[in-house]
């Protein structure tokens, strides 16, 4: 990504932060949001199962070295703000290499920067295994689960003629939970 895009993104993020009024830096809640729950595949499934108050759950598969993932992350947080009270749980699932301290540190730094007040998980499996488990070839990818825990929809990059956008994800969520505001 070029520097222009980066700085535009940064400016946009700062503007967004100002608008939605993110909590000030330094409080303990923010420190917590930076930490990812380190879960292997089985424990991750159990974690999803434990979200009993969720009507719908979206899982966003991302990684700290994935530009498009990070670019779209604010939209994910936005959906959390808009639809959280209506029963949407938002989960970020990092596919960073859990044995790579630099990558994990980058991911946590990013989550902290974004004040990612959602459920943040680091998949504790060998690097690359997450793609197999989720049955995807690329990230970002978003999975939408229904009240019965069934996967309702998946949004992936796997079909070059039909790549997903986060707007599509939000439309699907909005259709299920009603328009936010």
């Amino acid at each position: 990504m070029n520097k222009t895009t980066c700085s535009i993104m940064l400016a946009a993020t700062m503007a967004l932060s100002a608008i939605v009024g993110y909590s000030a830096a330094g409080d303990s809640k923010e420190d917590q949001t930076a930490r990812m729950e380190r879960l292997d595949w089985i424990k991750f499934q159990a974690r999803l199962k434990s979200l009993k108050d969720a009507k719908y759950t979206i899982v966003d598969a991302w990684a700290s070295n994935c530009g498009p993932c990070k670019e779209n992350f604010p939209h994910l947080l936005d959906m959390h703000k808009k639809y959280g009270a209506k029963g949407l749980k938002v989960v970020s699932l990092s596919l960073d290499d859990p044995s790579d301290q630099t990558a994990v540190g980058e991911a946590e730094k990013f989550l902290k920067q974004k004040n990612a007040d959602i459920i943040n998980v680091l998949l504790d499996e060998d690097y690359g295994v997450g793609f197999e488990k989720l049955n995807i070839s690329a990230i970002p990818a978003v999975f939408l689960f229904g009240p019965d825990g069934k996967e309702i929809n998946r949004f992936t990059m796997d079909d070059p003629n039909n790549q997903f956008t986060y707007d599509q994800v939000e439309k699907a969520v909005a259709a299920l939970l009603g328009a936010g505001s």
């Binding site: 994935c66 060998d126 793609f131 070839s137 990230i139 825990g149 070059p160």
Partner: protein, 202 residues
Amino acid sequence: MRKVLMSFAVIAVLAVPTFAGKYNKVVSIGEKAPDFSGLPAVFNGEDTSLSLVDVKDEVVVVVFLGNHCPVVQQYEDRLIEFTKDYEGKGVRVIGLSVNDIDSDRIPGIKSYTKDHKSNYIYGYDESGKVGKAYGASNTPQFFVLDKERKIRYTGAMDDNMNETKVTKTYLRDAVDALLKGESPKVEETRAAGCGIKYKKGD
């Protein structure tokens, strides 16, 4: 929420076998490879042009790349080594970028190949049409074409992004099989990596 567990379990099971067309939404094994011609390209630091019809080698390896992609960078050494190992053996490696991203266009390709001392020809398709015709969804993604330019293998180079943990060398196995006049045992695998950013509006 017990069903969450079940649906994930199903996904995990489905991910194991490798059948033709399992991952690629557009092309199948045995199909004629989509043609491409007149693409701007870089080879040994020089501007050149890339057409599939001009390649006379017995086996062609087309790999979709993106300079910005960390997974591509992670595979670069392996790709250079592969190209070197099969030089003069009737195998031609062709890198292709179809990303609508500044760093992945020709000037970016020029500096990337210079920095990495890449030894394969690396072309760029701005329209993204070539990538879509191959059903390329992410990078790095490999396609092995036989003498008749039929697709005989597609997917990953090997079974682990971490080179020290590789146990299966899919690409080498497929190419070796074709050079021996045999069919590759594994024809399609998942090529995990960065999603391709196609130009919008096509």
